[in-house]
């Protein structure tokens, strides 16, 4: 960890080198430790330490970018000069207006010093606890424990000087028996808050319950999706539909549908980078403070998220959702919340006459970006529900599902919600019960 003063001083030196109309320097630094285990032993234990700076120089509406991990004065100077060199070849971007200006940001604690004291032994002990619990039930455990200590900083020629340290810990496990498996994961910003025993118990329970899975014919069924699966779906909505770029290019399911009902009225979704119930981040990768954006309210499409470029281009408020530039994805919501319902998960199961409980998805991929048609498999705990009870485990199924239709078919949402780290964001998500989920194939296990 380099610390605020050292990083901001380096970035400000970079500003001094620039001859551009406007200049931005983004610092991304990370010390990452990862302990990976499989077959109930540690097979990969690694540490990396890397810092890089992304330079964006603008002159006459032309934009040049360079990224370097050479943080010496010479390296920084060269990066700025290389970015300026690019300006000689690129065209003016008429839609570019200006870099964002400084805004006051809320102070939120996103880094916990206790994480600095975590040793490789501490990591191994947490993993050992999971493995021991698995061994007591004659199961094999696989998974990973990661500890990331990060620093972000942005300095630009319009006065932004933003710095944020960030710590996060993720523990995953797949427990495996002879013919079944169970999954659990936990995310925390404090190492000692991560409860590996509770995680192991959850995965063990799924694995033992999943023994001797039966063949099951695909078709349309009512489903209960656990937060692991719901986070997967919300990632695709975020990636394909909730950002300003796809929205204005008419390739988002929300394009042209603001203030129209797009989901069930039970569904409310928002992004809030400042809510400590999630995994808060104070500002985006342009140094702009995060703003809460209600994306779907009672099923009605209300808004998408913006960065400075798309906010200026379309005359909207910058909501603080920039990714590191340049980026083909456009603005992206990192902190998704889905509103809780009133039912307990146990009550939701009781309300199913015949349906399928899905623990999580595997290898999901969009077939149709705009309609958000996703295919994938179920994994690590798929069960038949009959007459309000989980009756028996079933072999994994393939689904091919229009997720917008799924969100229209939601009939019940749990009051329990989970802090869930996904492929690209951390969300707070409930269980959902929905009608007519489209299973299109099956496999042999």
């Amino acid at each position: 960890m380099r610390g605020k003063d050292e990083i901001l001083n380096v970035l400000k030196k970079g500003l001094d080198f620039s001859k551009g109309d406007e200049t931005e320097l983004l610092y991304l630094g990370r010390e990452s430790s990862l302990t990976r285990y499989a077959n109930s032993y540690i097979h990969q234990n690694v540490k990396e330490n890397n810092s890089l700076i992304r330079v964006r120089v603008i002159k006459d509406k032309k934009i040049g970018f360079v990224e370097t991990n050479n943080l010496t004065i010479e390296g920084l100077k060269k990066a700025v000069e290389d970015a300026e060199e690019i300006l000689n070849f690129t065209k003016e971007d008429e839609a570019f207006v200006k870099l964002p200006e400084k805004e006051e940001a809320k102070e939120i604690k996103t880094f916990f010093e206790e994480n600095l004291k975590v040793t490789p032994e501490d990591m191994a002990i947490k993993v050992k606890n999971v493995i021991q619990k698995a061994s007591q039930k004659s199961l094999d455990a696989a998974g990973a424990l990661s500890l990331d200590l990060e620093e972000y900083a942005v300095v630009n020629s319009s006065g932004i000087e933003a710095y944020q340290p960030y710590s996060s810990i993720t523990l995953t496990t797949v427990m495996m028996g002879d013919d079944s498996s169970g999954y659990a994961d936990r995310f925390s910003m404090k190492f000692n808050d991560l409860n590996e025993n509770e995680l192991a118990d959850e995965a063990i329970e799924k694995t033992l319950r999943g023994t001797n899975p039966k063949d099951f014919e695909p078709g349309k069924y009512e489903v209960i999706l656990s937060p692991y699966a719901v986070e997967d779906i919300l990632f695709f909505f975020s990636y394909l539909g909730f950002g300003a770029k796809n929205f204005h290019q008419d390739i988002s399911f929300m394009s042209g549908k603001l203030n129209e009902k797009v989901f069930s009225e039970d569904v409310t979704i928002w992004d809030d980078g400042l809510d400590p119930e999630g995994a808060p981040v104070v500002f985006d990768f342009e140094g702009v403070p995060k703003k809460k954006v209600t994306i779907i309210e009672n099923g009605v499409a209300k808004a998408v998220v913006y960065d400075s470029y798309y906010a200026n281009k379309f005359g909207k408020e910058n909501t603080g959702h920039a990714l590191p530039q340049p980026n083909p994805v456009g603005p992206f919501p990192f902190n998704i919340f889905m509103k809780e319902g009133e039912s307990s998960i146990n009550d939701m199961i009781k309300n199913v006459k015949r349906g399928v409980f899905i623990t999580r998805f595997h290898y999901t991929n969009p077939l149709d970006y705009k309609r958000v048609i996703i295919t994938g498999m179920t994994r690590d705990g798929t069960f038949l529900i009959e007459d309000g009870k989980i009756s028996y485990p079933i072999k994994n199924l393939r689904f091919t599902q229009n997720m917008v239709e799924l969100m229209n078919n939601v009939v019940e949402i749990s009051k329990e919600r989970k802090l869930q780290k996904g492929e690209a964001h951390v969300s707070v998500v409930p269980y959902i019960r929905a009608r007519d989920f489209n299973f299109t194939g099956k496999t042999e296990f």
Binding site: L34, T35, R36, Y37, A38, N39, I42, H43, Q44, N45, V46, K47, E48, N50, I63, F65, V66, E67, T68, N69, N70, G75, A79, A83, I86, N88, F89, T90, K91, D93, T119, P120, A124, D140, A142, G143, A144, M176, Q249, D250, Q325, P326, P328, H362, Y363, N365, P366, L367, D368, K370, I373, T375, M377, R379, T400, N402, T440, K442, T443, F445
Partner: protein
């Protein structure tokens, strides 16, 4: 720097490691992206760093740093040793490595024109020209072009005495058109294939040979035509699959399940395991007798090719599937030792800061003897599909489903009407056993895939696949809503 690398491995031996290696990488990347005639981004990335891997007390440890000097190397070595000691407390058995030939060598690929010496104006002109041609079609609302160049120098030094220096230059690029109908339907067409195009261990000459400008009109026109095409038929029928889609089919259903670390469960918590368990080796019919699949890191210019892997094992060619039989795995020194096989030179890391894991090299469906006309003429009622749009496969690599950008009906041995949103699905071994036609050498092409994801933290690897169009019988198609 060579002296420092030898010195730190000597230090590792003095500190009692039973094995150690260091990889030092210097990496330079240039990316150029255009969208609707504007520059979306021109980016240059420079990265330098090293990673040290050790075995202590029979367990692995790895640490890395971007600060390249002797004192940092010593610090990182100590970290790696301390991590290995922590790992050893949770070991089941000691790690053993298969013996390999120790060598001192340098490897330089055959590159004619250094792409980093070619001006940005020349590079941009290709994308601008392609964009201009695609802009003729009003319904094409989004036009994208991209070029990618990567220059790398890599040192590998081990406590066993290997000292290998490798250079690598990669060039790649592609164009794509998105047509949008009045009702809001979106259809995409890419050239030469999806997800950024084609890539090769080559110089600027590869980009010139791609002929992006010459193909942009067809791509844009087809994206518009797909909007009014028939839907893909539903049911079981014969299918002919293009060369670029066969590359991904081979990747997902043969490449990944033959990685021996997956078979041993090392990827169980993330990408999954494999149905190709060890008892099936040499005793499992994976495909029809015409199916031959190789892992070949020696193909000149293949994106999955190199001189030596990241354990210092020389590049090689081997069969994974021979005459339809499952006959080989992709292995590391550690996994090969466990089952008494030889290391296949498959261990690679995607950067200095990552540990090497088993990665595909060039996994190739070897060519057959049919012309494209032969493949089509043998189908009474079926479809022909081109270019991947979507892919998914279960965590043992059995049930797969692919979507393609475009397709055509085949009726009575002839290509018919265009179809939209074609998909097909199956069980891996049933599908490959139904293969009864593979295109000949003239139709065979090595496709570079720059974005194969595996491992935690996820590593993105450059791999490749030689493939020709192929025909499969009685496959379920049209699985979409």
């Amino acid at each position: 720097m060579r002296d420092e690398l030898r010195w730190i491995m000597d230090e590792a031996k003095k500190k009692g490691v039973s094995y150690g290696d260091i990889r030092l990488l210097e990496d330079e990347i240039e990316t150029i992206d255009t969208e609707n005639g504007n520059v979306q981004g021109i980016g240059k990335t420079f990265s330098k760093g090293f990673g040290i891997r050790v075995i202590v007390n029979g367990a692995w440890g790895f640490s890395s740093s971007s600060k390249v000097d002797k004192s940092e190397m010593e610090k990182v070595l100590d970290e790696a040793i301390s991590i290995a000691k922590a790992s050893s407390k949770m070991k089941k058995e000691d790690v053993f490595l298969s013996e390999i030939e120790i060598c001192e060598d340098e490897f330089t690929p055959d590159v004619k024109i250094d792409p980093f010496a070619v001006g940005l104006d020349k590079k941009l002109n290709i994308l601008y020209e392609a964009d201009k041609i695609m802009s003729k079609y009003n319904q094409v609302k989004i036009r994208r072009g991209s070029l990618f160049f990567n220059k790398q120098k890599k040192y590998f030094v081990s406590t066993e005495g290997s000292f290998i220096v490798q250079d690598r230059i990669v060039s790649g690029g592609g164009v794509e058109a998105y047509a949008i109908s009045d009702s809001g339907e979106v259809q995409k067409r890419s050239y030469p294939t999806s997800f950024g195009g084609d890539y090769s261990v080559s110089g600027w000459e590869f980009i010139e040979n791609l002929k992006l400008v010459e193909n942009s009109d067809r791509v844009a026109k087809q994206s518009v035509e797909i909007l009014s095409a028939k839907p893909c038929p539903q049911g079981n029928m014969d299918i002919v699959i293009s060369s670029n889609q066969m590359a991904l089919q081979t990747h997902e259903s043969i490449g990944h399940p033959t990685e021996l670390d997956r078979v041993f469960g090392m990827e169980a918590s993330f990408a999954g395991t494999s149905f190709l368990t060890p008892e099936k080796l040499n005793d499992f019919k994976l495909g029809s007798k015409i199916v031959n699949i190789t892992a070949d890191a020696t193909i000149p210019h293949a994106l999955g090719g190199f001189g030596y892997d990241d354990e210092g094992v020389k590049a090689q060619r081997l069969y994974l599937v021979k005459d339809g039989n499952f006959v080989g795995y992709q292995t590391s020194r550690e996994t090969a030792h466990k089952v008494g096989l030889k290391p296949t030179g498959s261990m690679r890391a995607d950067g200095w800061n990552r540990i090497p894991i088993i990665r595909m090299t060039s996994i190739n469906l070897e060519p057959g003897d049919m012309t494209f006309e032969d493949l089509i003429s043998g189908v009474k009622d079926g479809i022909y599909v081109e270019t991947n749009k979507s892919w998914s496969i279960d965590d043992k690599r059995l049930n797969f489903q692919f979507g393609c950008e475009i397709g055509w009906e085949i009726k009575d041995g002839k290509l018919g009407d265009m179809i939209k949103n074609p998909t097909y699905t199956g069980i891996t071994y049933e599908f490959w056993r139904s293969c009864d036609g593979i295109g000949n050498k003239d139709l065979w092409h090595v496709w570079g895939l720059p974005n194969c994801g595996k491992g935690e933290p996820q590593q993105v690897m450059q791999v490749s696949h030689g493939a020709a169009p192929a025909r499969f019988r009685n496959v379920r198609v049209g699985v979409t809503r």
